[in-house]
Symmetry: C2
């Protein structure tokens, strides 16, 4: 049983670079990423990075979480709402209110939609957009041919995903795919992998504003796909969220008795609003935040195709029996600190 991960353009092309790679001794997935060419990395725009500073841990450890915001057409207007909320300082002083094991960490106003609230809910700033269910249920409809992305294939069953007709990567994001007759891609949407960030909401028709956010800290809850808006992913500091104490209330919310476990969020800033600067420079004020820089391995690059193939067919010395396949969330898109 072997499977291949191939660019769509190479599905019918024997002797593609990926196939050739399989015939030689292959490096590990991490080695492939390390050896990727400089031009295969894509810089993330500072406008698309959020810097969330949590209160220091009990032992004094500083805790900073960086989130990459998702571009349209997958994210819709929630991402602009999040920038509006950040720029209004609305997130400053909110808390982590929910930590449910093998599911999500959620942060927002502890007095919002909380029957045990001690005070009034924090008023939202002006100018937030209202989205509709269609913005996440329909996601991106594709009329023309799909782009040259990676599709997970199975030699017997053709396309493998447990939740959609297929799964793939597009411009740095893991996506689910609905295929119409004749194999044509009809619709694409982002999927709930570990570390993805989404918008909390109540019962329909509420679609959430972006004031309540969560990230996945367990096995991919793919049943949430197309039911909640995804807006990005954590690209640094995930361990500061995933290792928080679990809440003992329903759905992992902290109860009123354990309100002291709610981690305060000191600030959330759009990176483009932070000054550029060299953190190593001694001329900067101590503790002043500077703009971070991140880049991701292009999911349309040849290196990513080889990386995904190596994740699905582990040939490192440790492995005895390569799986011959992988699910989309077990092929995390490589992201690293870039040049400032």
């Amino acid at each position: 049983m072997t499977r291949s991960l191939l660019p769509v353009a190479a599905l019918l092309a024997l002797g593609s670079p990926v196939m050739a790679q399989e015939e030689t001794a292959a490096p590990s997935p991490n080695q492939i990423v390390e050896e990727a060419a400089r031009e295969e990395w894509v810089a993330i725009a500072p406008e698309d990075l959020l810097v969330m500073t949590l209160a220091p841990a009990a032992d004094g450890t500083e805790r900073e979480v960086v989130i990459q915001l998702m571009l349209a057409p997958f994210s819709q207007g929630w991402v602009e709402n999040i920038r509006t909320l950040a720029r209004a300082g609305w997130y400053d002083g909110i808390t982590v209110n929910r930590v449910q094991d093998n599911y999500v960490v959620q942060w927002g106003d502890p007095n919002y939609d909380n029957p045990e609230a001690e005070g009034a809910a924090k008023p939202l700033p002006e100018g937030l957009r209202t989205m509709s269910e269609g913005d996440y249920v329909d996601s991106a409809r594709v009329v023309e041919s799909d782009k040259d992305t990676i599709v997970l294939r199975h030699p017997k069953h053709d396309l493998v995903d447990s939740y959609a007709d297929s799964a793939s990567f597009s411009e740095g994001w893991p996506i689910g795919i609905e295929i119409a007759e004749k194999g044509k891609v009809l619709r694409r949407w982002p999927v709930h992998c570990y570390g993805m960030v989404g918008v909390g909401r109540g019962y329909s028709p509420d679609t959430g504003s972006g004031a309540e956010l969560y990230t996945v800290i367990g096995h991919a809850p793919r049943h949430l796909d197309r039911n909640i808006a995804l807006v990005g992913r954590v690209v640094e500091g995930m361990e500061h969220l995933s290792s928080l104490p679990r809440g003992s209330g329903a759905l992992g919310f902290y109860t009123a008795e354990e309100a002291d476990k709610r981690t305060p969020i000191l600030s959330v800033r759009v990176a483009s609003d932070l000054p550029e600067g060299d953190p190593a420079s001694s001329s900067e004020a101590v503790g002043q935040q500077t703009r971070p820089a991140f880049e991701f391995l292009s999911t349309e690059s040849e290196a990513f195709a080889r990386y995904a193939d190596a994740r699905a067919n582990r040939r490192d010395p440790f492995f005895i029996h390569p799986a011959g396949g992988a699910d989309i969330c077990n092929i995390p898109v490589p992201v690293r600190r870039g040049a400032d």
Copy 2:
């Protein structure tokens, strides 16, 4: 796009109980579990439960983790080794040495296979069995027909799993399946879902003794299936492991500088070696451990079939767009405290 989760015996039978259920207003997965009949639950033998007591947390919280050991043919001789190690008191005083975000927590002798070790490795007790790679690569060969288990099906692609020909549940465990010609089940093996417990090992031909154990704290690392021996799963206290601080060394090991982060394991006991008792009884010595009791929802039961179907097709009011499918690790087998 809709998919069905059906007992194998009902694959060709229209109008099965599961299909009928889909036509009526359906309860949530948790409600189905709560309403399961008493006889659909299977008691776990005390011989198959391990009670692992960690040192209390910094805030004084007591931390107990209960592990259900896996039965043959999936687990092979490692489970007996683990009982031998527990009964020799070998695990008492070891530590959690590795916490890698979105991957595993691993515990064992901090001086074993550690270039920074401060002391000699702890000698292993007599009587441990030596297993071979074949014990996890081949797992259970099935010559006759498969049992009546749940198989994840897809209307277009027949059987859906990203790592194997199919995935299913057998006697309470999630398993991968290799299918020979004519749809006959050829081979079955346990799979790496969240909370599953496995045996750490070095490079082949080392297969591990059972002295080094790990559990999955992130997205299912299914590429480890058939490459490492699985021996069980955490059934209570998972949050005490998943929320531990991540290690900053390679692979999430704690470095020598952060040795104080290693959580001590005070004791590991086979539940059948603990005295039976009513924890509410005041006649017992304070702090004395008593035998816990757990039971799991039979994966061959009708309630489990409906639960799995509801996990794959969420019809709760919150959901707008049921996925129509699920992967095996997003259908955790329900386990609960049973009558002592």
